[in-house]
Symmetry: C2
Subunit: 319 residues, 2 copies
C-alpha cells in the first residue's frame, strides 16, 4: 500500500502538503490540492491509521467499562454512548469487568497508554484513590456520584430516591418494607442501605434484616427471593427492587403462585425498562440511554463536572 511519501512524490508536492490536503488545512492552492487528490485516488491511498495515532497521540477511541454487557441496564447505557459516539466519529472499546479489579486496571492502563482518549466507567470496582491516579492521563467519567473527587460524573441520588420510595410505600400503608440490591459492596448499595436505615431510625422503628436481599441482578433471581419470602413467618408487604429485571422475576413468581400484587406484596422497580412497561410494574424511570449519551458528551468535552439526573416515579399497577 502506498504511503504519504509516495503520494507526495506522485503529486509532485511535499509530504506536508499532502498531509494538509488530507486534514483539510487551509493554505493549499487548488492546483496542488487537486494533484494530491488525483494521486490519492490513483493509488487508492489510505493513511496508516496507527501512524496517525502515534503522531497525534489520540485514537478516537473511548473506553467503556461495564461489569456485564448482557445486563439490559448496561446494554442501554452503552447504546446511548454508542449513539452519541457515532456522531463524533468515535469508536467504543468495550471492557467487561465482571467486577474484577484486574479488568478495570486494564482499562485504566489503556488510558495511560493513550490507547483510548477517555474512559467511561459505568460501574466501578476498585477504589477512588486508584482511579483518581489515572485522571492525569485523560478524562475519566463515572456513572456514580463522584463529587469530591477529581473525576467527572453523571449520577443519580440513590439516597434521595430510596428515601422517597420508602415514604411513598409508607403512604400506601406499608410498614414492612424489604429491598433487593445487586452487589452488597457497591457504593450505590451503601447509599440505599443508609437511606433505609435512616428511614426506620427516624421513625423510631425496627426493621427485619431478613427483608434485605443481596445479589439480585437477573430476572431469574426473582424466584429464590420469593421462595425466601414465602417461607417467612412475617413477610414484608412491599419490596423495593433495584432492577426491573428482578422485579419482573418477582412479579412473575407471584402471578404463578397466587400471591396478589399489590394486595399481598407491593413491588417497586427501578430503571423503567421495557419489561416494566409490559408487566405494568411501578418503577422509577431512569433515562438510561440518555445517561449514556451524556456520559459520552462529558467524556469528549473534557471539563470537570458533576451532573445529577433527576428521577421520577412511574406509577403503574404493582403498588
Amino acid at each position: 500500500m502506498a504511503n504519504i511519501k509516495d503520494i507526495a512524490k506522485l503529486a509532485g508536492v511535499s509530504v506536508t502538503t499532502v498531509s494538509r490536503v488530507i486534514n483539510g488545512h487551509p493554505y493549499v492552492s487548488t492546483l496542488k490540492k487537486e494533484a494530491v487528490q488525483r494521486a490519492m485516488e490513483m493509488e487508492n491511498y489510505e493513511r496508516n491509521i496507527n501512524a496517525v495515532h502515534l503522531s497525534k497521540g489520540k485514537t478516537n477511541l473511548i473506553g467503556v467499562v461495564v461489569p456485564s454487557i448482557r445486563r439490559p441496564y448496561f446494554g442501554m447505557v452503552v447504546e446511548g454512548i454508542a449513539d452519541e459516539a457515532i456522531k463524533d466519529n468515535y469508536k467504543l472499546v468495550l471492557i467487561q469487568t465482571n467486577y474484577e479489579v484486574e479488568r478495570e486496571m486494564d482499562a485504566l492502563m489503556m488510558l495511560k497508554l493513550k490507547q483510548i482518549d477517555a474512559l467511561i466507567i459505568c460501574s466501578k470496582t476498585s477504589g477512588w484513590d486508584v482511579v483518581e491516579e489515572y485522571i492525569q492521563y485523560g478524562p475519566i467519567i463515572i456513572l456514580e456520584d463522584a463529587r469530591g473527587t477529581k473525576l467527572s460524573s453523571i449520577f443519580i441520588d440513590h439516597y434521595q430516591i430510596f428515601s422517597n420510595a420508602l415514604a411513598y410505600l409508607r403512604s400506601k400503608g406499608h410498614h414492612k418494607i424489604g429491598y433487593c440490591l445487586a452487589r452488597r459492596s457497591s457504593p450505590n448499595s451503601a447509599r440505599r442501605e443508609a437511606a433505609y436505615r435512616d428511614f426506620y431510625t427516624n421513625l423510631q422503628e425496627d426493621y427485619d434484616p431478613n427483608y434485605i436481599f443481596y445479589d439480585c441482578v437477573h430476572l431469574e433471581d426473582g424466584e429464590w427471593i420469593m421462595q425466601r419470602i414465602v417461607g417467612m413467618e412475617d413477610p414484608p408487604t412491599a419490596l423495593l427492587v433495584t432492577s426491573d429485571q428482578v422485579a419482573a422475576g418477582i412479579l412473575t413468581y407471584c402471578q404463578e403462585n397466587n400471591i396478589r400484587v399489590p394486595e399481598d406484596l407491593a413491588i417497586v422497580g427501578f430503571d423503567n425498562q421495557p419489561i416494566a412497561k409490559v408487566l405494568h410494574i411501578t418503577t422509577f424511570e431512569i433515562p438510561i440511554v440518555e445517561i449514556g449519551r451524556k456520559l459520552f458528551l462529558k467524556a469528549i468535552d473534557g471539563s470537570h463536572s458533576h451532573e445529577e439526573i433527576p428521577i421520577h416515579l412511574i406509577e403503574r399497577l404493582t403498588v
Copy 2:
C-alpha cells in the same frame, strides 16, 4: 514519559536489547536483562502502545458489529466474545450499526486500516460482495451461513429449524400457524420464509399471509402483534416467534386478555433467553454466549471454516 531510548541509555544497552527484554526474546544476558528491568522500574516505563501498533501492524483489537447492543440477543453474543477475548488479551471495539450500511463500512474500513486485527459481524446489512472485498485485509467472521463465500462463519440452519418447528406444531394438531420475524430483508428471515412456504407447498395447502408478522424485535412488539391477531376472523392457533423477547410480549398480552396459552394460541420462541425460562416458554435453545466464544476463537485462529451450531427444542408450557 520515558521512551525506549531513555531506558536503553539508562541501562547502558542498545534499544534493541531493551526491546528484547520487553518482548521476552532469548539471547539476552542475565546481567543486561536485569539492568534493563531496573531502568524500566526506575523510570516507571510504559511503552507507547501506539508505536507498538504502528510497528507491528497489529493492535490486539477485534471489531464487533451488532445492530443494537441493548437487544439481549446481541448482548449475549458480545458477552461470549468478550469472555473469550479477555483470555487472549484482546479488547473489543464495538460498532453499533442500527442496520445502517455506512456503519458497517466503518467497521470494514477499520479492518482495512489495521485498526482492528479481525472483524466479527453479528448481523450484516450490506451485500456479500462488499464484505468479501475486505477479507484480504484480515479475518472476517460472520454469525450467518456464509458457506460458499470467503468468510468464515458460525451459523444456525434456520431453514431446518423452522421446518422442524412447523412439523412439531403440526404434530400437536396445529394447521393455522403464523410466524413473527425481525427484519424482513435479512437472510435469516429469507430462509425461514422459504421453510414456511415449502412446508405448506409440500402439504399442498395454502397459508394466510396475514399470519406473517415483520419487524418483531422487542418485548413491546408482542402487543401490536396480538392486537392484529385478536382482530382476525380466522386467527392462527400457533405462532413461531423468532425471539424470546417478542414471545414473552405475546404471552404477557395473552395472559392479560384471557387468551389461553397454549389452548387458544401456542407459542414457540427462539434463543432460550432467561425470560423464556421464567415464563415457561417453549423455545429453541440457541447457545448464544457459547456462539460468541466460538466467534472470537475463529477470529484469532484465522483459518477459513464454517461451523453449524446444532439447536434443540426445549419443551415447556406454551405449546
